[in-house]
């Protein structure tokens, strides 16, 4: 159903002029987070389901064009359809733990 109902008035060059610096900063923050994890040299961090999803999200980010945000959102999402039988914890943690579903 996607349609360009309200086109962005800025050209590509104007978007870069306006938003490059803040997104450059975000990119460096992301790199610094990954470097920090490397320095921690903690095998548990590599195996953490949240970071596995995070790295999959980075692959989508660096891949071909398309609706990157939507695809990354889906990487983090619970793909199942049935309600849970009981409450495990009060809040979500940011990524779905596929090991809970037997590696689905």
């Amino acid at each position: 159903m996607e349609r360009d109902f309200l086109a962005c008035p800025l050209t590509g060059t104007r978007l870069i002029d306006e938003y490059f610096i803040e997104n450059r900063t975000r990119l460096l923050d992301l790199a610094a987070f990954l470097d920090r994890l490397d320095r921690a040299a903690d095998p548990a961090a590599d195996a953490d389901f949240r970071m596995q999803a995070f790295r999959e999200g980075l692959r989508v980010l660096c891949g071909s064009s398309g609706p990157r945000v939507e695809r990354i959102q889906r990487v983090f999402s619970d793909p199942t359809t049935e309600p849970a039988d009981g409450l495990d914890q009060k809040s979500a943690c940011g990524a779905y733990d596929h090991s809970k579903a037997g590696g689905a």
Partner: protein
């Protein structure tokens, strides 16, 4: 520019926050029933909370010229407790005729348990029986996609409430199409960490158009920004959008949706009882 914040948990905010909102153009807000940050000890606690939402907060808001409206329910964060849900739902009807009550909300799902789904259905029964408009919370983070689909499927299966009388909130890139495509209103909440930035909110509006979309701060007791809506307006201007689109999203769209409740009076002409028409804007503005 005038704006309406459709989702602001002001019971969790300070008087200074009300003042900041007034100074930045807020003329009205709606304050959905929320989770206190801890589970209440009993259903009786909700009598105090509903009193706060319907009597205390409207007075605090009126001091700075903001009109305060509310939605009543047991928030999804406590909805897994079926005994509590039944007891709280029994209390709600006696508050529905209070002057600032717009409808049932924010109901929905949190961690998507079978009990939460049952409590959601109970709230839909209440809304349908009392012909209320509905504000729906969708789960956050990894639960959002599954929860939004389940909510939409439940509403479609139920079918008693017109989709145009329901706003499904906390929409994001992977759920907004599901919401709008099935005839519901979509809410986008501007939250510094777990929800959507102004930039991403505008991206969604550019992609899906400005109709049936509202933005709000969803400010509460967590890290959040009561003036997120005017910051969104500022970002719209930065991106070169016309003022008419900004006004539509932050003022006209909320009025269109909320005016489906006869109690919402902002932006409408109302009869003053003597056959004359009087504006219903809050006093002092």
């Amino acid at each position: 520019m005038e704006y309406i914040d459709l989702h602001a948990h002001m019971a969790s905010r300070t008087t200074d926050d009300y003042e900041q909102m007034a100074l930045t153009g807020c003329v009205a807000l709606t304050d959905p029933a929320f989770w206190a940050g801890f589970d209440r000890a009993s259903a009786d606690s909700f009598d105090d909370y509903f009193h706060q939402l319907t009597e205390v907060e409207p007075k605090r808001a009126a001091r700075v010229g903001i009109r305060h409206y509310t939605w009543l329910c047991l928030n999804p964060k406590e909805a897994d407790n079926r005994a509590l849900a039944r007891a709280v739902l029994e209390k709600i009807p006696k508050y529905l005729d209070r002057a600032n009550v717009l409808g049932i909300g924010e109901i929905g799902l949190n961690r998507i348990t079978r009990n939460e789904v049952a409590t959601f259905q109970d709230h839909l029964d209440l809304a349908a029986a009392h012909r209320q408009i509905v504000l729906i919370h969708t789960p956050h983070l990894e639960d959002k996609y599954k929860g939004t689909r389940l909510i939409v499927e439940t509403l479609q299966r139920d079918g008693r409430i017109d989709p145009g009388r329901i706003l499904i909130d906390h929409a994001e890139e992977h759920t907004i199409g599901i919401i709008l495509g099935n005839g519901f209103w979509a809410g986008i909440t501007l939250y510094p960490q777990t929800k959507v930035s102004p930039q991403r909110a505008i991206d969604m509006i550019e992609r899906f158009g400005p109709d049936r979309i509202c933005v709000s701060s969803a400010c509460d007791w967590g890290p959040s920004l009561p003036i997120a809506v005017p910051r969104f307006a500022l970002e719209m201007r930065r991106r070169g959008h016309d003022e008419k689109w900004i006004r539509k999203i932050i003022y006209e769209n909320p009025i269109t949706f909320l005016s489906q409740s006869p109690r919402f009076l902002i932006g409408q002409k109302m009869n003053d009882g003597n056959g004359r028409k009087a504006q219903s804007a809050p006093s002092g503005r």
